[in-house]
Assembly symmetry: C2
Homo-oligomer: 169 residues x 2
DNA sequence: CTTGACCTTGAAGTTAGCTTCAAGGTTAGG
DNA sequence: CCTAACCTTGAAGCTAACTTCAAGGTCAAG
């Protein structure tokens, strides 16, 4: 099977498949005399596996370390471990989302609850003050590193702009 | 207040504050004769507001369009609309996470449920087949664009690698 | 009058996961 | 023989939200 056909059958683009090969997620495949890649039927399954894992929140890096070159020889322990940790990540994210949602709902209520005798400017100030004093860290779940989330750990190492919450509290 | 002090009080880095100014999220501030930026006390609140909004899942772009130059003059309708939509986004993501979690749990169970008379290779194949036939689109929530999620709409326009699910199903 | 902690700027780097481009070789059909 | 639809490669571009770098100005203390 040439790359175009594999693309059709897997639902991915050829560029994506070549990309996966480049980063070592797919092992280098056989070539025809003319240089064209030739894939075995199994490749469809591997690609399906990869996209499924991605949807479950695994990064390509994680998938690469878990995927054995031989699909029948998995590292059972590592796999179970990864699955378990990913579930924990998802749960942490769920907690965070629940809090965010609640926070937004409270905010909406708070905005609508303007006392009759208060003008918009004062109300804006009231709401803002409420909001900023609201989450005394509550939302700071600083969750695990699940890639469904944009949690790129923005902490710093040792660098020019080295302060960030130096003092206070 | 100079930028360093604002950084301390807000918990952000100076580079980040300057960056926010560059992209038009913060309006250009006053300068001292020597070129240093000078911030009013209010700036702390604005930055707090921005980071809070970010944690709730708003992108800087969204925040920019919602933030009025005068903190006491909000576009009430647009704000409510955005908040409501963000809540919907969060809920969509929660649905997706619940499905992912369930999927992973089922997978773990499935792996452990190996029939006594089956070897690991065959079990691997069984599990894989199960998994790939499992989600007949169920996980394809293709949720809203909440930035907590890595949902960069990978659909294509008109391009070289123009096929992606041309036929099938 | 030197040191070091600030401040300034514009440009380039980072991460993840791809896509797009440029410049070409191959092949099947008419 | 030509054309269109494939295939190849390496390099560069994209997005978001920053950070880092280089090269330099400012200022208070000792």
């Amino acid at each position: 099977m040439k790359i175009g056909e594999l693309a059709q059958q897997s639902g991915l683009t050829p560029s994506r498949i070549r990309f996966y090969e480049r980063i070592g997620l797919l092992k280098t495949v056989e070539r025809r005399p003319n240089g064209y890649r030739t894939y075995p039927q199994q490749a469809v399954m591997i690609l399906g596996l990869i996209t499924t894992a991605q949807r479950a929140g695994f990064t390509l890096d994680e998938i690469r370390t878990l995927l054995p070159s031989d699909l029948t020889h998995w590292d059972h322990a590592a796999l179970m471990d990864a699955l378990t940790r990913k579930i924990a990540d998802i749960e942490a994210l769920q907690v965070r989302l629940t809090q965010s949602r609640a926070h937004l709902l409270r905010l909406i209520e708070d905005i609508q609850e303007r006392p009759d005798d208060m003008d918009c400017a004062a109300n804006a100030h009231r709401v803002l003050t409420n909001m900023l004093s609201d989450h005394p860290e509550a939302l700071d779940v600083t969750s695990g590193d699940i890639r469904l989330l944009d949690t790129k750990d923005r902490r710093q190492s040792v660098s020019p702009d080295r302060r960030k919450k130096t003092a206070s509290r």
